[in-house]
């Protein structure tokens, strides 16, 4: 049994959650939450925390030096810095359009890296 302390992010209350995880990683209980959303958040955050990673990628021959990018879906939180490594090694040639896929599958997550801005040719 292990107890994790978390801050719920659903509203400004920021309830202090205590999530108890049993052997085998199953959530035994969530306490401290003021509403059901806290329970759902606590369980997800302990068993499968995910985040969208946003950053920028170097553009060649573009009207600007960089283009903003995001993982099209959430990726596992533990992979954030691995995803950043991939992003930092990626370059793209202008023109770039919103939604262009720059990397098909980031870090084996099955999630693509997409451009979030337009960059014209220099």
């Amino acid at each position: 049994m292990e107890t994790r302390r978390l801050t719920c992010i659903n509203c400004p209350m920021g309830c202090q959650l205590e999530v108890t995880v049993g052997d085998g990683g199953k959530v035994v209980s969530v306490t401290g939450n003021g509403c059901r959303r806290g329970d759902v958040y606590g369980r997800k955050e302990v068993t499968n925390p995910t985040r969208t990673v946003t950053s920028t990628v170097v553009v060649r021959d573009g009207a600007s030096e960089r283009v903003s990018v995001k993982t099209k879906e959430d990726v596992p939180k533990r992979l954030i810095f691995d995803v950043m490594d991939v992003i930092n090694r990626t370059t793209v040639t202008a023109p770039v359009h919103v939604g262009d896929v720059l990397v098909d599958d980031v870090c084996g997550t099955g999630v693509p890296l997409v451009a979030t801005a337009e960059v014209g040719v220099r």
Partner: protein, 434 residues
């Protein structure tokens, strides 16, 4: 300069091509106005959204989670598709009470436009070091969080390696994560107040995720460094917000980021004679987002600082539509100071912990069937009620588990309730214990 008789005329001139200006332009176009001009100081449309590359925008407006550039793109695309005219790299120098807009850029030089209506959408700027009275040296390496955000996200430069952040507003929190992802070490975020003005989500996902400590009731008491920042000292503050001697902690670092509040950018407005609210630093507006000067409207962060761009767009839509109505003479007797008896003006009062409301006056004849009144509370309030009074009668009483200064609140007024009360003189929005 050309004389006023050969001035170019444009129905709706919009000052600023950020989220507010773009929404106002698209809404004015949808309202059937084909004479619009957007004047933008930067080299592209989209405003501050272009550097806000994180996600979380658009959940209300588009029911999906977008990044800032994606949110801006939705509006820029509409502007391009509809052929709404805009000028980039263009600085507006003056707006006269007669709505003559004076602007300049490299292609046109100085030029003037006679506007049928003006929409002020200049946004806001960050409170700089000079406005914070931080003691210490004045070396390189001190940036506002938004400047650092532009350097990292648009220019592609990392402004420092070891960072202390003062202020826990959302931009500061977002930059703590951004600098960390790019390889910098963010040592601490200090917040003067006993609570953060940022969203809980940002505290968790920008600080907790990376083990960055947030020190509430702390401020910067010294900055060291001759050429470049070498260290920053923070100290705990008491209830009077003054540093407590003996609580100092020194952090070796090369960068200090400031995220200490945003101020609406109203130099043009005040030079034009637009009355400003001492609470918001933005124009006082009526239900039509019209300022105290006839035919001049305001929306977005120049009006009051928002947390959510979705609400900026919503307000700006209405400001754009109302500007068109004014040009077409459909707004009725206008000008907050010049209303006749047939268009009674009702004051909206903020009391009991409510710092301000937008709008601050309502003409019940001109208001839409439903009017959203937005406000902020001055302090964290738990288990309180938001009440609305029409003169002495309480007509709304809604329990809120929590309200915080960092999150804008709203009440919705119904036109039927207001027009059904002849002689009504005030609407009061209050936070009450019971």
């Amino acid at each position: 300069m050309s004389g006023s008789n050969d001035l170019r005329s444009v129905d709706v001139v919009i000052i600023g091509g950020g989220p507010a200006g773009l929404s106002a332009a698209v809404a004015a176009h949808e309202e059937g106005c084909d004479s619009i001009l957007v004047l933008e100081r930067d080299n592209c449309l989209g405003g501050i959204l272009n550097q806000c590359i994180h996600n979380g925008f658009g959940l209300h407006r588009f029911k999906e989670e977008l990044t800032g550039p994606e949110y801006a793109h939705r509006f820029v695309r509409r502007v391009e598709e509809e052929g709404i005219p805009y000028k980039l790299n263009t600085m507006v120098m003056d707006v006269s009470p007669e709505r003559v807009v004076t602007a300049m850029n490299r292609d046109d030089g100085m030029f003037q436009v006679q506007a049928g209506a003006v929409v002020l959408a200049m946004g806001c700027r960050e409170r700089p070091r000079g406005a914070l009275n931080i003691p210490g040296c004045r070396p390189a390496g001190i940036y506002t969080a938004g400047t650092a955000q532009r350097l990292v996200n648009v220019e592609g430069y990392l402004p420092g390696r070891e960072v202390v952040i003062l202020g826990s507003g959302d931009i500061g929190l977002i930059m703590a994560r951004r600098m960390t992802l790019e390889g910098a070490k963010v040592k601490v975020v200090a917040e003067l107040l006993p609570y953060s003005g940022g969203l809980k989500r940002n505290i968790v996902q920008c600080l907790d995720d990376f083990g960055i400590p947030l020190k509430l009731s702390h401020t910067v008491v010294d900055i060291e460094g001759a050429e470049r920042v070498k260290a920053v000292t923070i100290a705990r503050v008491g209830p009077d917000r003054r540093p407590i001697p003996g609580t100092e902690e020194r952090y070796a670092c090369d960068t200090l980021l400031l995220s200490c509040g945003l101020i609406p950018e109203n130099e043009l407005s005040s030079a034009c004679g637009v009355r400003l609210s001492p609470v918001t630093s933005g124009p006082v507006v009526n239900e039509s987002f019209e300022t105290s000067v006839l035919g001049i409207f305001a929306c977005g962060n120049v009006l009051h600082v928002h947390d959510l761009v979705d609400y900026v767009s919503e307000e700006a839509d209405e400001a754009g539509r109302r500007a068109v109505a004014f040009v077409h003479g459909e707004l009725g007797p206008a000008g907050a100071g010049q209303r006749d008896a047939a268009h009674a003006r009702i004051a909206v009062r903020a009391t009991g912990g409510v710092r301000y409301t937008v709008p601050s006056t309502i003409d019940p004849v001109r208001m839409a069937d439903k009017l959203t009144v937005r406000f902020r509370v001055g302090d964290v309030c738990q288990d309180a009620y938001v009440s609305v009074y029409l003169d002495g009668e309480r007509v709304q009483h809604r329990r809120k588990q929590i309200m915080a200064p960092g999150e804008m609140e709203q009440v919705i007024l119904r036109k039927a309730d207001l027009v059904g009360r002849p002689g009504l003189s005030s609407v009061t929005v209050a936070v009450e214990r019971e």
